[in-house]
């Protein structure tokens, strides 16, 4: 999970153009500057490209809903990766 977190963090840093971003499980969209609906699309596109995965329409929406955070995002990504 740590390796995954590092990779996701890299994607966040690139998308939000902020090399200082450090991801914690409890973080939500409100904790990251500029995470509006268009940046959300940019983030999803970048994650899909980086990991070679595909988010379902409902999953894309769910990521910004209440109760969701970086922890649940990592779980979602992890669940889509081919098992090692």
């Amino acid at each position: 999970m740590d390796e995954l977190r590092t990779q996701v963090q890299e994607v966040f840093r690139e998308v939000f153009a902020d090399p200082e971003i450090r991801l914690h499980d409890q973080m939500t969209a409100d904790d990251i500057d500029g995470w509006d609906s268009l940046m959300h699309i940019n983030l999803i596109v970048a994650l899909e490209k980086h990991f070679g995965i595909r988010m379902a329409t409902a999953e894309i929406a769910r990521l910004k809903e209440d109760g969701q955070n970086i922890g649940t995002l990592l779980q979602l990504v992890a669940g889509k990766l081919p098992r090692a």
């Binding site: 268009l38 699309i41 940019n42 329409t57």
Partner: protein, 646 residues
């Protein structure tokens, strides 16, 4: 500074040439190099690198990152490019499209000032004379429509006549918007055609049934193309959807989420395409394709393998790929792209292939300029640009050898140098995807351009044999047709206005729409000159736009194609203007000169024609005056003038 330049150059080379697996690393290095250059204030170096990194095959995330570099860079650049006021109207989310458009226009040397409507207000912005669109006054209005903007699709039960009426109603609706925008703004309109979706209720029968939706979309697209006046350019969105693959293009998750017009990854190529069309309107398309020979036009090395040894022709797979590439290049030549050869070879050996090899598609008379020697290619490219009288930034250089490409990128950065795959079957795509030779219209001149340049070579020989200039000019038996701009000459006139840089006194770029308005205005005098001589037809080669202001005729625009320099066309036009001003009772003619990086050759144009300098400003913008008098002696020319239909 120098350190940044070399790091940027290496990072750019890696970025452009990295194989798929190494692309993420190469991308990260390029971005790091760009950011380091920005941090140290090396704006020009960063801008040069950024421009060349902006290829249409960028992925969405990289394009976003490069866009942020651009935003940081742009305010720092002393010369961000040709200014352009562009309005983008659409009924969907246009933010990423607008960003990428700005980015690719920057790559084309255009500094955009952008206006965007709020989501969903495309029609209202045009219909409401008090909308922000009209306050903004764009020079180009881009209607970024999609198939969802179609409003007249027929029910599947409709008969052929009903469908036809629906098609006409659909087209009339758009034509009405074009007309309104044009009447109120005089701007050029660029509109997408409609991107037919891949799903079909009627399956294979979709294109045969009169009311099939796919058939309706195709009919509307064809009718739009027929109905579009010169001030409207149709951007072929449907073609983009088909080259991307329609299921990929219409991947709708991000339409449901954010109302993006197509899949995010497809937006990059969409913006590249639209930017290339807009840049072509500004005269920024490339003009000449310069070709290497060995392993570019044929397989093998002619100097080593000989005529019988090179691979070109039917029967062997790779040899066929080279033939196909030549056919592609030939088609570009036939529609007006100039071809040149730049090869490291003995000239006679290289020419022999064109003259003697039975499978050659390209012949020597397709090539406007043939350079084969052992000099470095950057030097040769400069030579080619000089001989053809075009800028280095009009050239595209195609070479299979990565080292030659890198050298030219480094030593002649104005030349576009696309990456080529090792496999010649990929050459066409590698070149085509860049849209270097985008064109907004095709005039008769385009189809005959190589002839013009070759006839010029023949004239140069005649000039060498004549003992003096007057005798030479007489021997040409020139006839000039001088006439106002009319429907048949409008497109070519607009094209010359967009493209002429050197013999262009003011470099004011007017759209076809604006020229048409002038031709109809009582305050403007428009003239074009078409020239023929004993070597052939030079086509429409000069444009004058003059404005009557009180007792003055102000020469707003005077430009001429460089292929008819020193033939007496300027003097002929001066005689024409004098006579015309006199007939209208005007007292004086005022000519303007606005210096640019490219028009130094006409700095003394008005002095040569006997005008007096009356004013200059700090920027070198000069006003020259010539009195209109009955005793004025016409200049001697060796050109017979005919008018209108005579």
């Amino acid at each position: 500074m120098a350190a940044h330049a070399s790091v940027l150059l290496m990072a750019l080379e890696d970025f452009l040439s990295a194989p798929e697996a190494q692309r993420p690393d190469a991308r990260a290095r390029l971005l790091a190099a760009l950011r380091a250059a920005l941090a140290d204030g090396c704006w020009e170096e960063a801008a040069l690198t950024l421009r060349r990194a902006l290829v249409p095959t960028l992925d969405y995330t990289t394009a976003q990152s490069l866009y942020r570099v651009y935003r940081q860079l742009r305010p720092q650049l002393p010369d961000p490019g040709v200014p352009l006021k562009l309005a983008l109207l659409s009924n969907v989310t246009s933010d990423p499209l607008a960003q990428f458009l700005e980015l690719f226009l920057f790559a084309n040397g255009v500094a955009v000032e952008l206006y965007r409507s709020d989501y969903g207000l495309l029609r209202q912005e045009i219909l409401d004379p008090d909308s922000g669109l009209y306050a903004f006054r764009p020079r180009i209005l881009f209607l970024a429509t999609t198939w969802r903007d179609l409003s007249e699709a027929p029910p599947v039960s409709a008969d052929a006549a009903t469908v036809q009426a629906r098609v006409e109603a659909e087209v009339a609706g758009w034509a009405q918007l074009w007309r309104l925008a044009h009447e109120r703004l005089g701007c050029q309109v660029v509109q997408n055609n409609f991107d037919a979706p891949p799903w079909r209720a009627l399956a294979n029968h979709e294109t045969r049934h009169p009311a099939g939706f796919g058939r309706f979309v195709a009919a509307v697209n064809a009718s739009l193309a027929d109905a579009a006046p010169p001030y409207v350019t149709l951007h072929d969105l449907d073609h983009l959807a088909s080259t991307a693959g329609r299921w990929a293009w219409h991947e709708a998750r991000f339409f449901y989420h954010a109302k993006l017009p197509c899949a995010p990854e497809c937006l990059v190529d969409y913006a590249h395409s639209a930017a290339s069309v807009i840049a072509a309107h500004l005269g920024l398309a490339r003009k000449c394709l310069v070709l290497d020979l060995d392993n570019t036009l044929w397989g093998g090395v002619i100097g080593d393998d000989g005529l019988g040894g090179i691979r070109l022709g039917q029967g062997e797979a790779e040899a066929e790929a080279f033939v196909a590439f030549q056919h592609y290049v030939k088609a570009l030549r036939q529609r007006g792209v100039l071809l040149a050869v730049c090869s490291k070879n003995e000239e006679a050996t290289a020419r022999a292939v064109f003259e003697q090899h039975p499978a050659m598609v390209l012949r020597l008379d397709d090539i406007a300029c043939f350079v084969a020697n052992w000099q470095d290619k950057a030097t040769n490219l400069r030579q080619i640009a000089r001989q053809l009288n075009i800028g280095l930034n009009s050239l595209v250089f195609v070479d299979d050898n990565p080292a030659e490409r890198a050298l030219v990128r480094q030593l002649a950065p104005e030349v576009a140098v696309p990456e080529l795959p090792a496999d010649p079957s990929g050459y066409i795509r590698a070149l085509e995807c860049h849209r270097f030779f985008q064109t907004t219209s095709l005039a008769g001149e385009d189809l005959r351009r190589t002839e013009f340049y070759r006839a010029n070579a023949a004239r140069e020989q005649a000039e060498a044999s004549a003992t003096n200039v007057a005798e030479f000019l007489q021997s040409l038996r020139m006839v000039a047709r001088v006439e106002p701009v009319h429907e048949a000459t409008l497109e070519r006139t607009a094209q010359l206005i967009a493209r002429s840089n050197q013999f262009n006194l003011t470099t004011r770029r007017y759209s076809a729409a604006e020229v048409l308005a002038m031709a109809r205005s009582p305050h403007w005098i428009t003239r074009t000159i078409s020239l023929t001589d004993r070597f052939g037809d030079n086509g429409l080669i000069s444009v004058l736009l003059a404005c009557i202001e009180g007792d003055t005729l102000r020469l707003d625009t005077w430009l001429m194609s460089c292929r008819v320099l020193k033939r007496g066309v300027e003097e002929l036009l001066l005689n024409h203007i004098q006579a015309l001003a006199r007939a209208r009772g005007l007292r004086r003619i005022v000519g303007e000169y606005i210096p640019t990086a490219k028009n130094a050759m006409v700095r003394e144009h008005y002095a040569r024609l006997g005008f007096c300098l009356i004013e200059t400003n700090g920027a070198g913008h000069a006003w020259w005056e010539l009195a209109v008098t009955p005793d004025w002696t016409p200049r001697t020319t060796y050109i017979r003038e005919v008018h209108g239909d005579g």
